[in-house]
Structures are given as C-alpha cells and as structure tokens.
Symmetry: C2
Subunit: 197 residues, 2 copies
C-alpha cells in the first residue's frame, strides 16, 4: 500500500476555533491557496476567489457583523442542531474572527458550473495544506453574508462560501469522533457491507 | 516554509478520463475513502456515503443510464459551455464508467446541514489521497441521478454528488492550465493585489 501521508494528515487534523496571537507567515497561507488553485473545477472555470485579511480593524468589523447575524440565528435555532451546538458550548460569539492572525474569505463565482461544489473541493485541499504547515482553521459560514461581502467590496456575482480564520492552535478540544469506513461504505449495492472483504 | 508535499501532489494531479484495464488494489480505494471520513462536516454530521462498484454488469448499466442522460444534455447545451466541451472533444460518451476498474458513487445525506459542501470538501481529500497512490479519477456528475440511485438501491434522502471512476491512467491529455494565485487573491479588500507582497 505504500505510505499514506494524506491519510495521516487527515487523521491528525482537527477543527480549530482558538488561536494563539502568534503571527503566521503569510507565505504559508498563500501556499495553501496556491494548492487550492490546482484543484479541478466544473469546466475548469476555477470559480474560487480569496480575500486574505490581516488588518485588525477589518477583522473586528467582520466579527461584529457575523456576531449580529449569529445572535439572530441562535434565537431561532431548535431541535437536534440546537442541542448539538449547546452541548459543545457553541454560542453566537465568534472571537476567532478577530483573534486569528489571518482570515481568508472564500468566494465562488455564482455563474460558473458547479461553483459551490468546486470551491468546497478546493477547500479540502486548503485544509490539508494548512495542516501540513501546522496551521489550524475552521470553515465558518455565516447564515447571511451580505454585510461581510460589502465590508471588503466584493462585487455582485460572488457568493461567500466560508471564512477561514487561520493561525496557530491553542484549542484544547479533541477531534470529534468519526464514523468508521464500514458504517458509510457499501459494496456494489446499498446495504452490502465492505467489512467482509 | 518547510516542504510542501500537498502542494506538489496538487500540482502533479490532473483529471483522468481514460483508464488502463489493470486492476486496482481495492484496499487503496478504501484508504482514499477512509481519508474522506476524517474530513470536517457541518455539525460533524458526516453526511458522506460511498458505494464502491467493481461488478462489470453494474458498471455497464450505470454507463448506459448516464449516456442516455448525457445524450439529452448534449442536445440542449449551448453557449460558452458547449464550445468549451466541443473544443476538448467531449461528447455524450462516457466509456470511463465501464472501463475504470472501480467506480465510487459519492452520496450526501440531504437533511444534514451543509451536506453538499461537506461532501465536496471530503472529495478534495479523496482526490489527493488517490494521487498519492498513483490512481487517477474524474469527478463526474450526471445531470439526472435517479436511474443511477435506483440501480444500486439507494434509499430516499440521499443525493448523488459525483461518480468517481478510479484506475491507472492512460490519459494523455495534459492538465488544463490554471489561473495564477494573484489572479484570484486579494489583500484586505477586493481588487487589492497580493503580488506586491
């Protein structure tokens, strides 16, 4: 089977929501985005656009905008998702938007074929590239993006897919458990286990 | 900056649509899917499901179903996308669905939060894991998935995100060119170049 560097990286990686104030090397962030640029996309349209934010004032404004939206969301969310969120101590507060030394806004060109799919595939590349560089992140998506898009002058025709706060992790939460491969994989037909292979 | 194994893999990887009849080690395919299982997802819902197909008859049926849908699509497509497809010699024919030794149907649980986004992020993990194992693939999505889902008995509540034919590449097409990082990345505000860093 050879080495499985990617599998090991993927296993090691966990979502990070608390960041050290240590500066990150901007070149490292750009390496991760350069990795994304190599991803495939619908009709090779490369619908990804990135806005890298290091300016503290802009980060503060984005936090403020997102927390306003989150407060509204948390006042309405219910059912299983509400329980899941509360059990993990989540709230409308998003300090990571200000505390992470770098934010990357990830946008998609809406008219491109499979634009959302293509951009999220590229986000998968980014997460692994950041992990290799020992940088943590979380894919955060506000439920309403208009304020954020206006704050950095994004023109019409682009959607905010995610905001990635990037930095050195100080997050002590352990990785959420995962389903095992045979719980999500079937052989030749739905319901036929792979574990008998 | 250290080594950038992920960047190198991403640069090396290209989309593959022609496959050798050489069998692939099914364990390698499962390593790639195990990698996907480690991806983050909305509320950790892990909405990915995989159906691995090695049975020739089922592959033949899936090819037949998809080519019927593609013939209809090609009779209607127009504009830029039509030109892009024709210039590259694409047609309704999808022999890779039968010629690749393995197909993986990638499904998402539709009720999970951000299910499509989460599954495509995980597809990014799969592509890099396959590349590390020297296996080629293409993320193929038929415009109508019902026939394929029925063929392998997928229950309601799951969407077909992509079919990945997997095998050893015999594809001589070179990688499609990519936009450079500074064509898609801005600094602190839309339109402010990163190339001056």
């Amino acid at each position: 089977m050879g080495t499985n560097f990617i599998l090991d990286l993927a296993k090691r990686r966990k979502t990070v929501r608390r960041f050290s104030s240590t500066q990150v090397n901007l070149k490292d962030v750009l390496v991760a985005l350069e990795t994304a640029c190599q991803a495939p996309s619908g009709a090779n349209s490369q619908p990804w656009r990135f806005v890298v934010i290091t300016n503290s004032q802009i980060k503060g404004k984005i936090r403020e905008i997102c927390e306003r939206i989150e407060r509204e969301f948390y006042s309405k969310v219910n059912g299983e998702l509400r329980e899941w969120l509360l059990a993990r101590g989540f709230s409308w507060k998003k300090p990571f938007l200000e505390e992470a030394p770098v934010l990357v806004l990830i946008l998609s060109e809406t008219k491109a074929p499979y634009s959302t799919e293509s951009v999220w595939l590229a986000i998968g590349y980014i997460l692994l590239a950041l992990e290799e560089l020992n940088l943590g992140t979380v894919t955060y998506t506000p439920s309403n993006a208009k304020g954020v898009l206006d704050e950095v002058d994004v023109p019409d025709g682009f959607r905010l897919e995610a905001i990635l706060p990037i930095g050195v992790s100080t997050d002590e939460k352990s990785k959420e458990p995962r389903l095992s491969l045979d719980e999500v994989t079937y052989m030749n037909s739905w319901g036929r286990s792979v574990s008998t292979l």
